[in-house]
Symmetry: C2
Subunit: 332 residues, 2 copies
């Protein structure tokens, strides 16, 4: 590399940037360095250089569902940050299947990724955790907690606080029977959202009615089925928290089918400010968070450990904020 | 490999599947083969084997905007199909910037991907096309056409037919002044949608009013600005085609701001059946296509050439269909 730098008349760091395919190298600089390499008969390629330095400059990403706009935002934020630092993202999709988590981690280990970003479909599955422990590279969990995984940093959203505030808003509007549809407690968002819901009930000294709590999925189909069940109770809730943007899609389908108007006949809260929530009539109150930023932070937590092997894993938390709109109205 | 198969007591093809990290290999089979490899002192890893066989079992994907739900669907469909065939996807994002297309293609070339799937930000940029020609691996274009790129297959959506039918629907409802907001003509969807719009005008012997045609972007901001302009014309259109799901987001923002009701005061058509279109009140008429299937087809077109070097590039077209809903109503 020193010889190449001398021949090209550029700094050693410039040669390194060209060889590592840093995206911000100018075409002129790249041409100079490549010409010098050719003159010296040196044949670099990223696969060969990864063997030499034991690094592939790739980061594996296991996402639960790329077609969910939230995961797409997180992926976007992470890829942009990694790319700027000279890393490429190998994207895999667990499709929400806990057994595929394990398969994808194993695949990425054998691909010798330098690091892993993962949003597990199930935090509690032993085989996946064992596979993660096998991995000798830094790991960043996205909105997940795995007890004794010493190698993992994490970026978390403060769902509990957002959900507590949303539930208290509904109490303030006079609602007493509040339904909750949310993801399973086997992942952190499910547990945290339930914790916030419960905290609001205790602070108002109202007991949780467990018939109104439906946890277990993230899909439109789950949201629709659970909303349908809640609407058909003898004493249905006067307000509904549909804690997920795809759950909202299903919940609205059920409400349309039952001809129940949002706002006037039932109050509705959802999570994450997707276009549907913003532009629905009436606009829907949501607990929002910055998902693109979560992806950027995940990549940053990984990069700090890739760049400094002494750096310790750490946890970053992003806030949630309650956006109050016309879908939440006074109880009748 | 023969020695390993003998030692493990399994078929040669099973050893190959384990070494190529085929995802459907059982854990027991993998353990057997790995044990035999260790006994024989043979150290496989995917990076090393990629050097031996000149293949990395990776496919590069250059997507224009992963946070757009359509691209997320396409990515999901493609990744699933590639993964089943033993390939991993290296995801890069051009962020809709034509200069980044070129950078990303160059990066993926140096990463020695076995194939490339790309949705170019601009089909006409010479530098990018030159870089694509450099690439000595099969290419699949997603909804793009590049004149003399002999190495490229393509999966295309029949936007022109869908847009022609949507425009004719509006003529049938009595509309004569129809606005069109759409992507730039530098990519195929922009050209095709305009072609369908024009075809409907000629078939009804109505001249296109070019003051009502606003092509140039895909973002919510572009949609909002153009809808605002059209609404403020002296003689505004009675119907609007907002040809893109993010353009729809911006268009609805402009309509809300101007307090113009969809359906009763202005007819509205969009493209792609996202939750916002389905659940808006009134529901929005769309030209739909199966985007997950487009991703699967793109991966399939690539795999047929990776598996058979004699296979020729080819073009597959997916249909669009018009879903008529209450947002399109008789002109007043």
């Amino acid at each position: 590399m020193k010889e190449v730098a001398r021949r090209a008349g550029v700094a050693l760091s410039s040669v390194s940037r060209v060889l590592n395919d840093h995206p911000d190298v100018s075409d002129a600089m790249r041409a100079k360095v490549i010409a010098a390499i050719k003159e010296l008969g040196y044949q670099p390629n990223l696969v060969a250089s990864s063997l030499r330095r034991g690094s592939t400059k790739t980061v594996g990403f296991v996402v639960a569902d790329i077609s969910n706009p939230l995961f797409a935002d997180i992926t976007w934020g992470a890829e942009r940050r990694l790319n700027r630092a000279g890393y490429s993202m190998v994207l895999t999709n667990s499709e929400g299947d806990p057994a595929r988590d394990e398969k994808m981690v194993r695949l990425l280990r054998r691909r010798r990724v330098d690091g892993l970003i993962i949003s597990l479909a199930d935090e509690t599955r032993k085989e996946t955790i064992a596979e993660l422990k096998h991995l000798e590279v830094p790991i960043v969990l996205i909105d997940r907690e795995v007890g004794d995984l010493a190698s993992a940093s994490a970026v978390l959203a403060d769902h509990a606080e957002g959900m507590r505030r949303a539930t208290e808003l509904l109490f303030d509007l006079g609602h007493r029977r509040i339904g909750l549809i949310g993801p399973s407690e086997s992942t952190r968002p499910g547990r945290e959202r339930l914790a916030g819901f419960k905290a609001a009930h205790s602070s108002r000294r109202v007991g949780v009615d467990w018939d109104l709590v439906k946890l277990g999925g993230l899909s439109p189909a789950f949201g629709e089925a659970m909303a349908h069940e809640l609407l058909n109770l003898k004493d249905p809730p006067s307000a509904l928290i549909s804690a997920g943007n795809l759950l909202l899609v299903g919940t609205l389908r059920a409400l349309h089918r039952a001809r129940v108007s949002v706002g006037s006949e039932i109050s509705l809260v959802s999570c994450d400010d997707v276009p549907l929530a913003e532009l629905y009539n009436p606009p829907i109150t949501v607990v929002d968070r910055n998902t693109v930023e979560m992806g950027e932070i995940a990549a940053g937590l990984l990069l700090e450990r890739l760049e400094d092997p002494e750096a310790k894993p750490r946890v970053a938390t992003v806030p949630t904020r309650l956006i109050v709109r016309a879908s939440t109205a006074a109880a009748r």
